[in-house]
Symmetry: C2
Subunit: 349 residues, 2 copies
Amino acid sequence: MDPSSASLRPREPRRGRRTAVTLSDVAAAAGVSPITVSRALNTPETVSEVLRGRINATVEALGYVPNRMAGALASAKTRVIPVIVPSLSNVVFVEVIEGIQETIEAAGYQMLLGSTDYDLDREAALASTLLGWAPPGVLLAGLRHLPRTATLLKNADVPVVEFMEYGARCIDMNVGLSHVRAGAVMAAHLLERGYRRIGFVGTRMRDDYRARQRYEGMRRHIAEVGGASDILFEYPWGPGQEVGWHALADVLAADPQVDALFFANDEMAVGAVLRAQRDGIAVPGRVAVAGFNGLPMSALVTPALTTITSPRKEIGKQAATMLLSRINGTPPVQRRIDVGFVLEARSST
Amino acid sequence: MDPSSASLRPREPRRGRRTAVTLSDVAAAAGVSPITVSRALNTPETVSEVLRGRINATVEALGYVPNRMAGALASAKTRVIPVIVPSLSNVVFVEVIEGIQETIEAAGYQMLLGSTDYDLDREAALASTLLGWAPPGVLLAGLRHLPRTATLLKNADVPVVEFMEYGARCIDMNVGLSHVRAGAVMAAHLLERGYRRIGFVGTRMRDDYRARQRYEGMRRHIAEVGGASDILFEYPWGPGQEVGWHALADVLAADPQVDALFFANDEMAVGAVLRAQRDGIAVPGRVAVAGFNGLPMSALVTPALTTITSPRKEIGKQAATMLLSRINGTPPVQRRIDVGFVLEARSST
DNA sequence: GGGATTTTTGGTAGCGCAACCAAAATCTGA
DNA sequence: TCAGATTTTGGTTGCGCTACCAAAAATCCC
């Protein structure tokens, strides 16, 4: 007696599901067994050329689309990599994502994108949901997460790369740059050029802790060196040129001593330069302006903007490459990579 | 004799797969049947409060993460919606994606993002792969695809929304704006302001057919009205401020008659304005400059940029909403939505 | 209070594919 | 020419979950 006869008995689809073409349909049409079709598609070199041709033709003819879920369930493998970022409105993340996308797509993987809107609870929820897809690895922005997010990812036993900032403590692997050092370097530059009252302008810094790190780096450096002071201005808006546009006037009115402004990003800084231009405020004569990120537009405004260039696409590529090498069993050369940054001293300071 | 007894026989994991906590584990630990756990998670209202509490506690305790693939395979339903766009470097798509993301996440769906890099073959491949996830619907940028892409999507029998441009022929549903009309409206504006030699500056227009449509709309309008002429300038670069920065000088040198320039997007137009500023070229005195998209920065440069504002986030939201309503069985009010656009006439023209 | 509902729980089967093992076909060398 | 090695093909089983159906328990109504 054949215990599996029940499952071989012909039947119509169990539920109202759409009756898509399945691997068995292709097999039947091509006159081979299902497993041969599976092989022809996944490991073509193990199937004779004749059958391969016939099978490919049948696949084409029937418009067969493999059910990835069934495949993933059977093989306990997916080629979908979740990428969790705080925001898509920020160009910076988009460029990192591009780097990731290029790299993983070239390796035959797909990207499942989740955005947390800077909310750590949402991040935890997202991580949990995305792990349900049994991904081969996870890419996660930032090093600060809820304890349960970290636990979840550690328990899941998948490679994880945390990208954006470089730091000592990571779940698994880490690629990024030190924002504290970037802040310090900018402070050093501004002090060197003789500015003595340096403002930092940021938005929603409770959420954007990387901006906070830059401010911290700057503040500490100024304190260490002495002879100058810093002041923080925070706006509750989303980061954008408008913030810089308004901030320039606000700040100079609120604290006329300020002779240099370090903005949390280039967009705000560009907004400030444009405002200065319109209102005839001399940059850097009246106030120096610096940004962060090294967006192309920073070089185009007049005066050209001093900024710190971060290798965003590179971060994405490195993160993806690291993850892929771990997925493929090759341990990456290093578990933590500091991609560094470059200070672009231009005429706005 | 029980034909399925074979599958009930206890066994160790078949392969070297990682032995994650499964629904059955939770059921055993909570002392209920697996199906009850499934219900407690998916349709909590159908399970008594006592059991629900016990099950949730067990889920928590064991760190159970449902295997979405198994669920999807069994129910023939996923909550993952593929979104296919030509590019992520373009802010415009990112904003549309944000609108989509917000809307579908609120409805409990996930976004699977694919980018085609303006390659229709890649688009077809991507569509095929993504359909393998048996998605409840598909969001696709643009109305122009390879025949096989359209066939694939039609055969898949899932709701599809094509977004970005509005047009007569769509696979299923469509949200966007008419780029041809936008071009014509801008032409009308420039003619009305007295410009007579109007240049259009675009990049990679073989791929970016929406920019081409705007040019076409402009060209035809100018031809219809008479008394003015147009000229096309095309750059092989990626679209960005640098293009406008260089184009302004190039164009004026190549064709000194040109008295107005309509750029394919705001970024290029802003680049041109910044260049004009640096080089002391009067805008709009020597040459008028107009952009497209209505990015925030267009209002901040001096002179403020005339542009056409497109409701990008709105397009994303509408597209997602339409798709969701179809997924939920409610046919959307309309199958095609023209979201329109607004000409922002500012001082650069 | 007893039958008819309604609510809550469980059993069974199978979604579509790939891993594992076995069998068949082909090739190799003396 | 034939045993043994190699390549190519097929059968069976189960991945973890939910649809469907049925049974049990709780509630209702006159």
